[in-house]
């Protein structure tokens, strides 16, 4: 469904992602794990068009998307819940979700999706008239995911959904990710919380300083001592 082939991304003269290749199949969760600063977020930003790769190819459903604008990529069915939530702080929960559905014309199905999102995240229904900026971190994360889902995406990119969340909230988010997957969503999950990500995903890529250090079935990687090494260096 999605393939990255030899992607390089530079910030000025510094290479943040150094020629990585990733495959994501239909209806699967693929996770990108690694320590801070390994290049995971940059990879996601490249997929969503927020950062143009300096070389390499990104294909989505067989078509090249690495030269498209973020607006065009969203229109093709890729939605992202970004790192640090980034909800629209001075808009209500409801308005944030509406913005997620900005490009959609099918009113009836949009309505159904609202219901589906409120089913996954009941708290959002309760808070739907509240300003997004006043929500707690966990609620904002749910809203960011909900907003991404409102575009009816074929592919969902989740960037560090557990960042800064308590263990209980992290578990909550993990459960919802699994639910979404069971309902047939394709998800790319970027996580620092490797243990959680490796239990959710089928395939995993471990990034280190812009490269892919390891990749394979998540199950196999789960007990690989090398993972701890890439995080803690010893």
């Amino acid at each position: 469904m999605l393939s990255l082939d030899g992607i390089w991304v530079h910030y000025g003269t510094v290479a943040a992602v150094k020629g990585i290749s990733i495959e994501v199949g239909e209806n699967e969760i693929v996770t990108l794990i690694g320590a801070n600063g390994a290049g995971k977020t940059t990879t996601l930003r490249a997929i969503s068009g927020l950062h143009r790769p300096s070389s390499g190819e990104i294909r989505f459903q067989g078509e090249r998307i690495d030269r498209l604008t973020p607006e065009e990529i969203t229109a093709r069915g890729i939605a992202m819940a970004p790192e640090g939530r980034r909800v629209f702080p001075q808009m209500t929960v409801m308005e944030n979700l509406e913005m997620g559905a900005y490009l959609r014309q099918d009113g009836a199905r949009v309505k159904r999706d609202f219901e589906e999102i409120f089913h996954h995240f009941p708290i959002l229904r309760e808070r739907r008239k509240q300003m997004a900026g006043t929500l707690s971190g966990g609620q904002q994360q749910m809203l960011a995911m909900g907003r991404a889902l409102m575009s009816g995406p074929k592919l969902l990119l989740l960037d560090e959904p557990s960042l800064g969340l308590s263990p209980i909230m992290t578990q909550e988010i993990a459960k919802i990710v699994r639910e979404l997957h069971q309902l047939g969503r394709t998800i790319v999950l970027v996580e620092q919380n490797a243990r959680m990500a490796l239990r959710l995903a089928k395939h995993a890529y471990v990034m280190e300083t812009g490269n892919i250090a390891l990749h394979g079935l998540a199950e196999d990687l789960r007990h690989d001592p090398k993972i701890q090494q890439t995080y803690l260096g010893a």
């Binding site: 973020p70 607006e71 969203t74 909800v87 629209f88 913005m99 900005y102």
Partner: protein
């Protein structure tokens, strides 16, 4: 006397609000600061002059014509000046100072420079409120302002495109990720900004001396309001507009117009010292 002054304050505040809201909006969406905003106001007044005083259209129709005409000027400004200078607020601002020159010359050379073009008052007589007399023409400004601000509010909070505009102002990158096209939004913002300045000028045409340089006084007031309100906050602009309306009117009544301007600037300096982000502005984290 007091009631008269209060009534005048409200009228002044209404005009200021219409003018400043457009400026705050353009700045909020993509940091577009329009030095020629006062000239857009002037253009609106000239639209009324041409259609109402010269061509004999009904006054309301002439006022409405200002909306598309000056709105289109806003769009043109966005395409020709703000878009090429998008990464540099100052460059865009200075370039629109050049635009102000151009508009002044074009209008001045077409309809005359020295002459004070007076537009006859379409609504004679005055309204009597508890002994205070206010010309109907001025009274008209208040409902127009209320109507215009409500329409803007409705657009921003109830219409999808308006909500998208707010999303753009809050986080342009995230707005793009929702599929919102930034370029359309900046054009829309400038259209609204221009239209509102034009509308204000059109409404004021019969009670304000119409000259190619009438924008000068307007722009200073508008910038004071926007700085006081918090640069990109529309609600802040409205609040500051009415505050400044009160200050200007009262000081003008007690002293004179020049002193009123000075007190206005002093208010702005005070806000800058006490609360640099403006009355309703937010501190960026």
């Amino acid at each position: 006397m007091l009631i008269q002054t209060i009534a005048n304050s409200v009228v002044a505040g209404s005009v200021y609000a219409i003018i400043a809201v457009g400026l705050a909006m353009a700045f909020g969406v993509m940091k577009m600061a329009n030095f020629a905003h006062g000239e857009f106001f002037m253009a609106g007044a000239y639209v009324v002059y041409v259609f109402y005083a010269l061509l004999g259209w009904p006054f309301p129709a002439a006022v409405l014509m200002a909306v598309p005409i000056v709105g289109a000027m806003g769009i043109a400004t966005e395409r020709l000046i703000f878009r090429p200078t998008r990464d540099n607020v100052m460059a865009g601002f200075m370039a629109t100072a050049g635009l102000a020159f151009i508009l002044q010359v074009l209008v001045g050379q077409t309809w005359g420079v020295g002459l004070m073009r007076s537009v006859p008052t379409p609504y004679m007589g005055a309204m009597d409120i508890f002994g205070a007399k206010i010309g109907w023409q001025r009274v008209l400004v208040l409902p127009s302002a209320v109507l215009m601000l409500s329409a803007l509010w409705f657009f921003l909070y109830r219409v999808k495109a308006g909500k998208a505009l707010r999303a753009c102002a809050q986080d342009p990158e995230m707005a793009r990720l929702q599929g919102i096209r930034i370029n359309r939004m900046t054009m829309l913002a400038m259209a609204i900004s221009g239209a509102s300045a034009g509308l204000a000028g059109a409404l004021m045409a019969p009670i304000h001396p119409v000259t190619p340089y009438m924008g000068h006084g307007v722009i200073l007031t508008a910038f004071i309001i926007v700085v006081m309100g918090g640069m990109e906050s529309i609600a802040g602009a409205v609040l500051a507009a009415f505050l400044l309306g009160i200050v200007h009117t009262f000081v003008t009544t007690l002293s004179d117009a020049v002193t009123a301007q000075m007190v206005g600037v002093a208010c702005m300096a005070l806000v800058l010292i006490v609360r640099p982000q403006g009355l309703l502005g937010r501190v960026k984290a």
